[in-house]
Each structure stands twice: as C-alpha cells, then as structure tokens.
C-alpha cells in the first residue's frame, strides 16, 4: 500500500472541480432549509419579518430554546411520544421481520415469490391512500385515540421494506454455515440464534435505523387522523401548538423542531456504531 491513489481513482484537476461542484450543489440544496431554520430559531420574533430580510441574525440569541418550553408546556411529552411510538414500532417490526426475512431468504415454500412481490406492491401505497379504511379498522378495533392507533398502522406499513432489506442481507450469509451447524447437530433454532443472528447484526441494524426513521416520519399522518388526545400527540402534531390564533411563533417552532429531532439523531448515532461491515470475512473461501 502506497500513498498514491490507484490509477482508476485519479482525476484531472477540472474533473475533481466538477465533482465537488456537483456535490456542493446538492448539499446546498438539501442543507439550506436546515441552516435557514436554525438561523430563524436564533432571531427574535419581531425581527423575522423585518424588511429588508436579513439572512444573518442581528443580535441573535438562544432565547427561543428556553422560551419554547413555556409557550407549549406539553412539548417534552410530544417528544417523548414520538420516541415512544417509533421505538415500540421498531421493536415490533424487528421481532416480526427478523424470523420472516430468514424464512424468505432460506426456505422454499409455496407462494414465496408472490408474497414478496405483494410486499413490494404494498409499498406503492402510502398510508395516506388507505386512511379511510384504516380509520374504520382502528375504530372497529377500538384503539382510536390510543398509542396503538399510531403504532399498529405504522408497523404494518414498515414491515414490507424491512423484510426486503433484511432478506437481501440474509441471502448473502453462506448456506454452508447452516449446513455445517446442522451436521454438527445444531437444530434450526440453535443455528438461528448462535450463527445467523450474530452474522445478520449489521443488516438488522440497518433495518432498525430505517424502520425507526420511517416510523418517526410517518407517524404524522396517523397521529393526525387516529388520535385527538393531546397527551398522545407526537412531535409533528405537537409542533402545531406553536401556531397560535393570532400569530405563529416561528423562532420557537424552529427551535422546537431541532430539539425534537435531537433524540432521534442520538439514537441513530448509537445504532450506527453496530454497523460493522465485513463481519462475514473468513467464513468461507
């Protein structure tokens, strides 16, 4: 190994420039709203509508991050609700999907192909399309205005993607490992627990992260429709509390958004550490 870049990775200066320009364009496009949002959260409300509009805040402060807790007393509860709903949904999805993905990856059974295709097809409908039937279903189940009304549909719509993701990962685990375990007398479940699960951990982590993010993002629509109780509101709905009758407290709304996202970011950050790549190195070959 030398410090020189491999031939295939060498670029002319103008190629490098073009690549970075392209990356910059996309990054600016994606990150600008975040920057703007953060800057707004630093401005005093009175200054927000000053003309001419100033991008950089004058005498900016973190006051909004303090006052937001007083303006909407239930805010902490909303953040907790969001986390709670997402965490429970993720846990349920994992419990259901890990064995299912293994079965789809390994067992030959009737209807395996059509079932997988059906899962993919379900993905094409967002929950929003099915809100009315779902509402009726939730009402029949008697779970309207409970956590369950937000968790159950969330789980249902997250499972297909999760199965596809994890199945793809599990297919790549060499079959010989199971055969070797079988020859050595291990049963299916023992092999699953001692061999497959540890090897699938990176895949399971990816699924956990995507599911968690998915649950966090999609709870808005279910919460809006199936829940009207303030104490069960998740963050996206809770943010509406900053919309007053007279005015919208924009700076606190932005501050609350950032604070609300923070716990999810921390969870993802910790999960990411388990994304050990190349864990199967040395298994076969």
């Amino acid at each position: 190994m030398s410090n020189q870049t491999a031939m295939i990775n060498r670029y002319k200066w103008y190629e490098t420039l073009a690549i970075y320009a392209g990356i910059a364009l996309f990054l600016i496009f994606i990150l600008c709203p975040f920057v703007e949002g953060f800057l707004v959260s630093l401005k005093p409300l009175s200054r927000l509508f000053s003309s001419p509009y100033r991008f950089w805040p004058e005498n900016g402060s973190f006051d909004a991050y303090v006052t937001m807790w007083d303006s909407v007393p239930g805010f902490a509860r909303y953040v907790f609700n969001s986390l709670f709903i997402s965490t429970v949904a993720t846990a349920i999805v994992l419990v259901l999907v890990v064995p299912a993905a293994y079965a789809f990856a390994r067992f030959e059974f009737m209807g395996r192909g059509p079932l997988l295709a059906a899962f993919l097809a379900v993905n094409m409908f967002s929950g929003a399309v099915l809100l009315i039937p779902l509402f009726r279903l939730m009402r029949s189940l008697g779970v309207l205005n409970t956590y369950a009304s937000m968790i159950i549909p969330g789980v249902a719509f997250l499972i297909p993607t999760a199965i596809w993701l994890l199945r793809t990962y599990m297919v790549r685990i060499p079959k010989e490992l199971e055969e070797a375990a079988y020859v050595d007398g291990a049963g299916r479940f023992y092999t699953f627990r001692r061999v497959i699960l540890p090897l699938a951990m990176p895949g399971i982590t990816v699924v956990a992260i995507t599911t968690f993010i998915g649950a966090y993002a999609q709870q808005f629509i279910f919460a809006l429709t199936f829940n009207s109780k303030t104490e069960y509101m998740p963050l996206p709905i809770g943010l509406f509390s900053y919309f007053g009758r007279q005015e919208v407290i924009w700076n606190e709304l932005m501050a609350a958004s950032f604070v609300g996202i923070a716990p999810a970011m921390i969870v993802i950050f910790f999960l990411q550490r388990y994304l050990v790549s190349g864990l199967t190195a040395g298994a076969v070959k």
Binding site: L279, A281, A283
Partner: protein, 376 residues
C-alpha cells in the same frame, strides 16, 4: 467401527438422475477418495452420505444400521466443507467447540478436548483469534478441528483443499494422510484432483455421470483401468488413444494393426475381437525417443520443459493430440519431426464399447499390494 455400505443409491432432481445406482462397501479405517470430473455426482453422493441430501432410492448403512432417515449428527459422521464454513463471529476456540456446545458438554471437558485438538493441528497459539485473521491453511485446519473434536466414526471431506494454493495443498495433503494414520478413522474424501486421489487414497472410486466407473487401489487404476474413461482420467498428461484393428487373437494376446504395423499386445484375449475396431492406449510416460515395438514420427507443436521432464504435444493426423513425457534433456524442438516409440507391454487395449481387455504381462512386474503398502 466406521463401516459404510451404500446399496443402489440413486438421486434424482426432477427428471435428472444425478446418481444412477451406486453400490459401495467401505471398510472401517479406509481412506476412500471419490474422484471424477465436474458434475459426475461425487459431491452429491457425499452429501447423501452426510444426510444433507436424501437419496431418492437405495440405502445408506453405517455399521449395519440403516441411516436414511437419521439426522447427520446421529449418523456419526463429521463433514469438512469446501468453503470451510467457519463461523466468522466466533473465535477459533468457539468454532472448534461448536459441536460440543450443541451437545451441552461440561465446560471443563470442552476446554480439554478443544485444546487437545488444537495441539494436534498446531492451532494452540490461535485459539483466541477470529477466522478472518487466519491464513487459508489455518482456516482449513480449524474446519478439520471442528470435525475431529466430535470423534465421529466417519469423516467426510468435500474438496477441502481446492481453495489452497499449490504449495499449501501439498502440505495439507501430507497432514491429512498423517491424520488418517493417527486417527485410524474412516475417511471419505471428494476431489477432482487426481493427484490428491492417487496420493492419499487406500481406494479410489472413480465416478462418471452418476455411475461408478471403477473402484480400486490407486495403482490398480493406473495400471489396469477397466475402461477408457478411467484410463483417460487417471494419469497426467492424459493417456494417448490410437485407433487399431484386431487381426488375430492368441494365448499371447491380441494382434492388432496399429500405425501400419502388426503387433501383439499382451492382454487377455477374447474370441469375438477379430475384425473389431479397437482403441490402443499408451501413457505419455511410457513413450521414448527412438525405436520400439511401435514407433512413428510426430511433429511437436508445443514443448513444455519442466526440468525433470519434458512434455511434447503434437496433433496427429486424426486431430487427436498425442503427448509424450520424455526426460528433461530430451532433444525435441517445436516443428522438427521426431521419432516417438513405445512397447506393447505398456499398451492398453479397449474394445468397441470402451471396455478394457485385461492386461496380462505387466502384472508380474508390478506387485500392487506391495506398492500400496509402501505408499500408505
């Protein structure tokens, strides 16, 4: 202790018969090698013995007990996979201990056994490492260790050396032979490499297209192949085949017309042969430059000099490649015709159905039993 009997075992995948009736008796302590070209069914047969695949028909009997419906672990076999199939997230110790943990053996006993095995396989310094940190040969030894630790009656090896480089393969071959000697266990070994088959086996089973082409001791296969397939498969470079016509039979052998010359090949005669088109086989290593019972001129198209030997390849007029294995300093040059000769004692003769006529002369000179004992 590790006696195995296969009775008319067949295996079909749909309409495709992969194993077409294999009957085989393997004695306790024998080292048997299944060899054959790709797709001959050797690995499938091994998987059937292991219990990973089931036989479509026929019985697998281990120590007098029909084991068709028994799980691998209850058959008393252990298997080493071509890909090693090590558990990458476990240390070498845990990999070897895996079968014992399944059995729920007490911890102290596991430790003792694993350490004993590691000692035998020179892995004692590596027990805490993960398979990913080991070299190919060490991984192979771990896989073997996992098989040994259970003390099975029969070891099954599925092309275990095919992922190793040539030098390491030679080393592992010697280690495996020694291991077989030390454990005195029955071993069944699948390979497509005839060098492995010849060097390690007590007995070789040559498979071709789902049938057993021939079963026998390595040198038996070499000196007395029963058909053209085995004759061509065993030996490197491949045996040369020349067309011949039978003109007469006598007690001395079969008189054939080959290369425009009449010669008597000392094989067991059969009356119906006269007039038949036969095939005469001669191994490249039994040819020499000069004159012999039969000689003809070939024009070398490729000359490979290996130091100890020189291999000459040429195309004869029938498009067949003719090869000769000559001494290292043989005076052959590409495109310069040379006279290649061989003697009828070294010849093999095959009838129209590619079945060999048993050679009669060579047997007095080659004591197969004695050679086999020495090589073991």
């Amino acid at each position: 202790m590790g006696q195995l009997y296969l009775n008319k075992v067949t295996k079909s995948f749909g309409d495709l018969d992969v194993i077409k009736g294999v009957t085989l008796d393997i004695q306790d302590g024998e080292f048997v090698v299944f060899v054959g070209p790709s797709g001959c069914g050797k690995s499938t047969l091994l998987r059937i013995i292991a219990g990973l695949d089931d036989a479509t028909r026929g019985d697998i009997v281990i120590e007098g007990l029909k084991v068709n419906d028994l799980a691998p672990v209850n058959r008393g076999i252990a298997m080493v996979f071509q890909s090693y199939a090590l558990y990458p997230h476990m240390s070498v110790f845990e990999n070897i201990a895996f079968p014992l943990r399944v059995e729920k053996m007490p911890e102290a006993q596991i430790k003792q056994k694993v350490e004993d095995v590691a000692q035998v396989l020179q892995l004692d310094q590596r027990l805490q490492q993960k398979p990913g940190m080991l070299s190919g040969g060490q991984r192979q030894r771990v896989a073997i260790g996992r098989a040994i630790v259970r003390e099975p009656k029969i070891f099954l090896f599925d092309e275990p050396l095919s992922n190793l480089d040539a030098a390491l393969r030679a080393d592992m071959r010697i280690e495996l032979t020694k291991l077989h000697h030390d454990l005195a266990a029955t071993m069944i070994y699948v390979t497509h490499d005839q060098v492995e088959a010849m060097t390690m086996a007590d007995r070789i089973v040559v498979l071709n297209g789902g049938y057993i082409a021939q079963t026998g001791k390595p040198l038996e296969l070499y000196h007395k192949p029963q058909n053209m397939f085995v004759a061509g498969f065993i030996g490197n470079p491949k045996m040369n085949f020349l067309p011949a016509t039978c003109t007469a039979v006598s007690d001395d052998g079969v008189t054939v017309n080959c290369l425009d010359r009449e010669v008597i090949v000392p094989v067991k005669p059969r009356e119906d042969l006269v007039g038949q088109k036969l095939t005469l086989g001669i191994r490249p290593e039994h040819t020499f430059i000069g004159e012999g019972d039969l000689d003809f001129r070939i024009t070398p198209t490729v000359v490979e000099r290996l130091g100890v030997n020189t291999i000459v390849y040429s195309s004869t007029n029938e498009e067949n490649r003719f090869s000769a294995l000559l001494p290292g300093a043989a005076p052959v040059v590409v495109d310069e015709p040379v006279s290649i000769a061989f003697n009828t004692v070294d010849c093999h003769l095959f009838d129209e159905n590619e079945i060999a006529l048993e050679r009669s002369t060579a047997l007095t000179e080659i004591d197969i039993e004695k050679l086999a004992v020495q090589s073991a």
